[in-house]
């Protein structure tokens, strides 16, 4: 029986291995300096890169972080400190519900809130959709990390006459920081690859743009666009883009693990 179950484990990991191997084979040869530094070429011409999309993704992630991190961390602190409060219980539940919300619904929300009234797509709307997705991830992780801080530490600070808020900010938050950084990185890795919320918010852009109130390119959107198109040259770029995107996500995830391990001794997943 253990053999059958072991086989299930092998079967479950096979798609991942196939996918990664295929991605390396198709994408690696197209990755060069031009891919990172050039703009896309028109149909029919070879070469070109995705510089604008890479920068666009970084900007979108930045906006999302500016929205998702403070709210998530604040709410996480509240949940950890007011553990038994009725509000905490419902917020905890609702943040799980928010976490389970389909990403395209976040896109609709940001579209109706920020795109429709203004009349044009914008990086800000894309960032809002991604930021809203980040909030529950950061909240729950912050709560868990803050809880791992020993009560004795908190009590010691209070006994020394520290006000509660300074105890929380200086002692508790500082101690839990590596764990929270990990959580933030994991959340960023999750949203960096999202496409659906960006379809009608950030929208994508064939040209260079870093403005927040204009449509902006993003790596996932560019991959989707190129994958659908009937041109081999674009497919080649789509694979390269996918490889860069996965590399980005994996590097952030590994960084997260490294941050946790170096200071916090095995907290996190």
């Amino acid at each position: 029986m253990s053999g059958v179950l072991g086989l299930a484990a092998v079967l479950a990991t096979l798609p991942l291995i196939f996918l990664l191997v295929h991605l390396m084979r198709e994408g690696a040869s197209s990755i060069d300096l031009a891919f990172f530094s050039r703009m896309p070429k028109p149909v029919g011409e070879t070469g070109g890169g995705m510089a604008h999309a890479i920068v666009g993704t970084l900007i979108l992630v930045g906006v999302a972080g500016a929205i998702g991190l403070p709210v998530g961390m604040g709410a996480g602190l509240y949940l950890a400190e007011q553990r038994g409060a009725r509000l905490a219980t419902s917020v905890r539940f609702l943040s799980d519900v928010l976490n389970g919300m389909p990403s395209i619904v976040m896109g609709i929300f940001a579209w109706h809130f920020l795109v429709r009234p203004v009349g044009h797509f914008s990086a800000l709307a894309g960032g809002l959709a991604l930021g809203a997705m980040m909030i529950p991830l950061v909240t729950r992780a912050t709560e868990e990390m803050v809880r791992t801080v020993p009560t004795a530490l908190r009590e010691a600070a209070l006994a020394l006459g520290y006000p509660r808020w300074r105890t929380s900010v200086v002692i508790v938050l500082r101690t839990a920081l590596p764990g929270i950084v990990t959580a933030a990185l994991v959340a960023i890795a999750r949203i960096a690859g999202e496409t659906a919320p960006l379809l009608f918010t950030a929208f994508g852009n064939q040209y260079w743009s870093t403005r927040l109130n204009e449509p902006i390119a993003a790596l996932p959107l560019q991959i989707y666009e190129y994958a659908k198109a009937p041109y081999d040259e674009w497919h080649r770029l789509a694979w390269a883009g996918a490889l860069v995107l996965i590399a980005l996500v994996l590097i952030i995830s590994l960084l997260a693990r490294f941050v946790t391990r170096s200071k916090h001794g095995g907290v996190g997943d």
Binding site: A12, L16, V91, T151, T195, A227, K228
Partner: protein, 329 residues
Amino acid sequence: MTSAVPAAPEPAVAGPPEGSTTLEGKSIGDRVYRTLTTAFAVAIPVLLVFIAFEVIAAAWPALQKFGLSFITSSAWDANAGQFGAAPMIYGTVVSSLLALILSAPLALGVAIWLSEFAPRWLRQPVSFLVDLLAAIPSVVYGLWGIFVLLPILRNNIMPFLATTLGLGNTPFFSGPAYGNSMLGAAMILAIMILPYISAVSREVLMAVPRSQREAALAMGATKWEMIRDAVVPYARSGILGGVILGLGRALGETMAVTMLIGNRHEISASLFAPGYTLASVIANEFAEATNELHTSALMACGAVLLVVTLVVNAIARWLVWRVAREPKS
């Protein structure tokens, strides 16, 4: 990865004694801090209500015009101004359920193997690999699906099912094998939700108390009997919660499904036929929606999806929480 882990049981650590300290409420800093964190916490329910409000507002023109017939009708004609989401609802439900049927047994198998049988040195790397499945962006699954999975489906799996197994005569596996199909979407979904189901099941299985296992072994059960009769039943509702959580993911999954399902407004019994889901119709048609009503009909699909996933997720969380609490009471 982290997101897949359900609400952990609360550790019994007492905070500083509430209200007994004279420090409470004295400093302005305390009040500001308390107000600020409370405000951020309240922001979550507010955001949730706001999202629901915005989505329903976006969907309102279509919902108002078609009412209940939006859910039951399968007419979808942008020029005639007729919109009904029945094929999309059908496609969403069928692709997700099929994905569950393919994924849940495998995920449960992995979870049981990892929690009960895996040698210590293999446990960590295998869990990591399975969790990694959840880290792959949806659009990359779609890309891989188009260029790798669909050709395999078209050339190998579909002919095998239809001809070799002789299932081609049944309505479920009939019709031409294009590749783009309900089956293709379900297969990619199965891969995508596996890590979620498996992570929750693993957590729940590991939370089964030692005494439960030892009691079974003391009664003379073999290891397999112990798992079957003592461990899995104990974790049953948590595992069910994990499966429903996976279902919630599958229902709302957009990109990979849009790229593989074929995008056609038709209800067909055959899994070889192309279909549509609530999420993929929004992704696929938004750019070409020319009039207000068409856009609103797409948003109404989003509203239906929102309601369905909210209900499914609430059920799942409740089931997982129940298990997490049980040992205490």
